[in-house]
């Protein structure tokens, strides 16, 4: 069992080393000539007048909430799908009940206009 995980860990280690080495080599080779105008955030040649760290459209927040609801639903599908043949018609009816509840939720969200951009 542990041997299975060791492969994942080893590859993770290799991936981190690859990324680290690429950044390190650049640090060694690249020039660095910094001055105040160059360090300014890029805004098509103008000096930025507003900070990006302020309010933005609430739509994106709404999508995140919807994501939580429907991703949890997707997670429930996984064990059910993998054991589907053993559960049979009973499992299908159980799942249909669960999805109808969520389907009503989706219809509500849709009618409320949360999916409009």
């Amino acid at each position: 069992m542990l041997a299975e995980y060791s492969g994942v860990l080893l590859l993770l280690l290799v991936a981190l080393i690859v990324a680290g080495v690429m950044l390190l080599v650049q640090q060694l080779l690249s020039p660095s000539r910094e001055f105040a105008e160059k360090q300014e955030p890029f805004e098509c040649g103008e000096s930025p007048i507003v900070s990006p760290h302020q309010r933005f459209s609430v739509k994106f927040y709404l999508v995140a909430i919807l994501f939580i609801v429907f991703d949890v639903e997707a997670v429930f599908f996984y064990p059910w799908g993998a054991l589907f043949m053993d559960l049979g018609w009973f499992g299908l009816i159980e799942m249909a009940t669960f999805v109808i509840v969520l389907g009503v939720g989706l219809a509500y969200v849709w009618m409320k206009g949360a999916l409009e951009w």
């Binding site: 690859v18 459209s57 993998a82």
Partner: protein
């Protein structure tokens, strides 16, 4: 342990050493062919250009020589960390990809060509895939730039939306194969069935013309779940943020989106991740829908038996292993070609179209797909047994 290291070396050499640089070249050459241009052909060593194949090498060397730029007011730690978080998931997804099947060489355990042969392979793919979104989100947030932040909020909403549909569109596949392990799915796809064989149970089989009755189809995901294939490919391409889903980058609107304030190899890591995702997507789609390493109509036992009758069992197993690796890579190449074709054929969507496609079309459709699959499977179980 030595076996695991060997597999990791193979995967890194093939995917990162061969596929990755070639894809940057194919991207330029295929687009050139499609747009009636010549494409990259200048980079050379002593005047030898080899059709521009040397361009990836020149690109890497150039990136190493660029200044490592961090804008004023940026979060320096997060700015450095973001490209690493974007690249690492793309590499470690390969841990569960089966490059070839399970072979008995007479050792203690049969040899299975996966770095980590786990039962929860597909869950792992999705878990790791969602980490990649953090790289994008942190990059835009840490850059202290308005354009970058716009790209980031677009990317975050797009990526999490498509994650839901991606998860739901493959449920049908593991309902058919009854497993979450990619290796077991590939093993299940290593056979074929008569396309109209089910008509036997209605006594209609004899009424068909003979040639039609015996049409064979491999038990690949794409034949069992055509709907799932189309939706999964769309979702996973949207996750990768390449055109036509490149709204987080959108050069003409957001300049370059979330990686606007990146230069040199930090930018290079984002692009490595994006290009690496192309063969990784190819691998996952192949394992799920295109039969993995299996060769159509020639299952492993037949192959080993056929070759083994001439050269002996052990040698035949080795030959079949090599054949399967090549079959897998050939399918991956086809998937890469398909992705490039889509990338250079379709214009960029509008943002509302992207979100509508996900929430209003594919989400209901994937739920319908699951229930149609469920009813058909149970009905088959009762009628066919």
């Amino acid at each position: 342990m030595a076996e695991t290291i060997g597999k990791i070396l193979f995967v890194l050499l093939v995917v990162m050493g061969a596929f990755l640089p070639m894809i940057t070249w194919v991207e330029r050459k295929q687009s050139a062919v499609m747009q009636d241009r010549i494409g990259a052909n200048r980079a050379n060593i002593a005047g030898i250009t080899v059709l521009g194949v040397l361009h990836p090498l020149a690109d890497v060397l150039k990136l190493f020589g660029k200044e490592d730029f961090v804008p004023a007011g940026a979060n320096r730690v997060m700015h450095l960390l973001a490209p690493v978080i974007a690249l690492v998931p793309a590499i470690i997804t390969l841990a569960v990809v089966p490059f070839a099947g399970v072979y008995d060489f007479g050792g203690e355990n049969p040899f299975s060509f996966v770095i980590a042969d786990v039962d929860w392979g597909l869950l792992y793919v999705f878990a790791v895939g969602s980490i990649a979104a953090y790289g994008t989100i942190i990059a835009g947030w840490a850059s202290n730039n308005n354009w970058a932040l716009l790209g980031t909020v677009r990317a975050s909403a797009q990526m999490i939306s498509y994650e839901v549909t991606m998860g739901l569109s493959v449920v049908g596949v593991f309902m058919c194969f009854q497993t979450l392990s990619l290796q077991e799915m590939s093993l299940a796809q290593d056979s074929s069935f008569r396309l109209l064989g089910f008509l036997e149970h209605f006594g209609l089989f004899e009424t068909l013309p003979g040639w039609l009755a015996w049409i064979q189809v491999p038990t690949w995901g794409i034949f069992l779940q055509p709907m799932g294939f189309v939706m999964f490919l769309t979702c996973i391409m949207a996750e990768n943020k390449r055109p036509p889903f490149d709204l987080p980058e959108a050069e003409s609107e957001l300049i370059a989106g979330y990686h606007l304030e990146y230069s040199g190899m930090r930018w290079g890591l984002f692009y490595t991740a994006e290009f690496l995702e192309v063969p990784v997507i190819g691998c996952i789609v192949t394992a799920l829908f295109l039969g993995g390493w299996s060769i159509p109509f020639l299952d492993t036992q037949t192959l080993i038996g056929g070759i083994g009758s001439f050269f002996g069992e052990g040698f035949a197993t080795g030959v079949v292993l090599v054949l399967h690796v090549h079959a897998f890579l050939a399918k991956v190449v086809i998937m890469i070609w398909l992705q490039m074709l889509i990338r250079w054929s379709l214009p960029r969507f509008r943002y509302d179209q992207v979100m509508d496609l996900c929430w209003k079309i594919m989400l209901p459709l994937s739920l319908v797909n699951i229930f149609v699959t469920a009813v058909v499977l149970l009905w088959f179980q009762e009628v066919v047994g």
